[in-house]
Amino acid sequence: MSYDLIFLMALITFFMRYAFFMEKLPVKLDMRVQRFLSFTAPCILTAMAAPIVFGEVTFNTHDLTNPFLLGGILAIVLSLLVKNTLIVVLASMGAFFLLKTLL
């Protein structure tokens, strides 16, 4: 890999993050678009997490020993009960690695 390639990658990622910050960009985001965009965070984060947790679900007894599924469900339940993100992340990761070793 060359330095040029790294700089080009940097340009691409920066452009994706900066694109809509350009004042000159000829788009106006009215209230409807802003309401649509308010769904960005929950939907993208979910779309990243769901295949990791449910991607290998087989709907048979294998699911009972799938640490991703069990750990993911634990994370969902804990998130409903505990407000602290750090506790949820650490507890469900601990459970995940425990299950992975035991099962």
């Binding site: 691409i12 694109a19 965070a41 779309a47 769901a50």
Partner: protein
């Protein structure tokens, strides 16, 4: 919330640091993996670190490094970078109205630091406060940047000495973090349905190997959520 708005600036800065901390911890194994893989496929230590310093995009970096290892060409690597990073266009659009009017250096810094994690915590904080907290965005982004680069450095130093780091199931850390961020913020039925639709689509598209499955499943959920939201007016 009026009590939240009265929060002193310092506590917002501290909150930025502590809110992004669990997400930064979850990303450490990925940084190590990214650094050590880069060394393994033949990048120099400087190149490996520059990628984290300049590109600062975990998924894009990992895919570029993997493609390099597999002998992928420049076009393939840049194409995958563009596709993987395209979700950031949505983040940029979401924050557009808040970035307008900021000085150029603040806008550029904010864009440079705009990761999934920074976006998620800042958007949560913005909803909680009722206004866009620039300090919060920059501090949480910078904290994440520092930890990402330090963990890449650890991977570069460790080099090839971590066997099968990929097979440990590190992606679970990412999933747990995002679950912990999303679930407490589901406070209306349109958001709940949007999230469920995105989840189902993401699993289905992933199994069917639909190209650009991440962005597509998020967009389907967003459209459904938006339509339900309109109806409930």
């Amino acid at each position: 919330m009026s009590t939240e708005q009265a929060q002193p600036v310092r506590s917002i800065k501290l909150a930025a640091f502590f809110d992004i901390l669990p997400l930064s911890i979850a990303v450490i194994p990925w940084g190590i993996l990214c650094g050590s893989l880069a060394i393994q496929v033949g990048l120099s230590p400087l190149q490996s670190q520059l990628m984290s310093l300049l590109v600062f995009a975990g998924a894009a970096q990992l895919s570029a490094v993997t493609l390099t290892g597999a002998g992928g060409g420049i076009a393939t690597i840049l194409g995958s970078t563009a596709v993987i990073s395209s979700r950031h266009l949505l983040y940029s659009a979401t924050f557009r109205s808040h970035a307008m009017g900021l000085p150029l250096h603040h806008k550029m810094l904010m864009a440079f630091l705009l990761t999934d994690e920074m976006f998620a915590v800042t958007e949560n904080k913005r909803k909680e406060l009722g206004y866009f907290p620039l300090d919060y965005a920059l501090i949480s982004g910078a904290t994440f940047y520092a930890i990402w680069n330090l963990s890449t450095l650890a991977g570069i130093v460790a080099g090839t000495s971590i066997p099968n780091l990929e097979s440990l199931g590190l992606e679970f850390a990412i999933a747990a973090t995002f679950i912990a961020m999303v679930v407490p913020n589901i406070q209306s039925s349109p958001v709940l349905v949007a999230v469920l639709v995105s989840a189902c689509c993401a699993v289905l598209f992933h199994k069917l190997e639909v190209p650009n499955d991440l962005l597509l499943s998020a967009l389907v959920g967003m459209v459904v959520g938006y339509c339900l939201d309109k109806e409930s007016d």
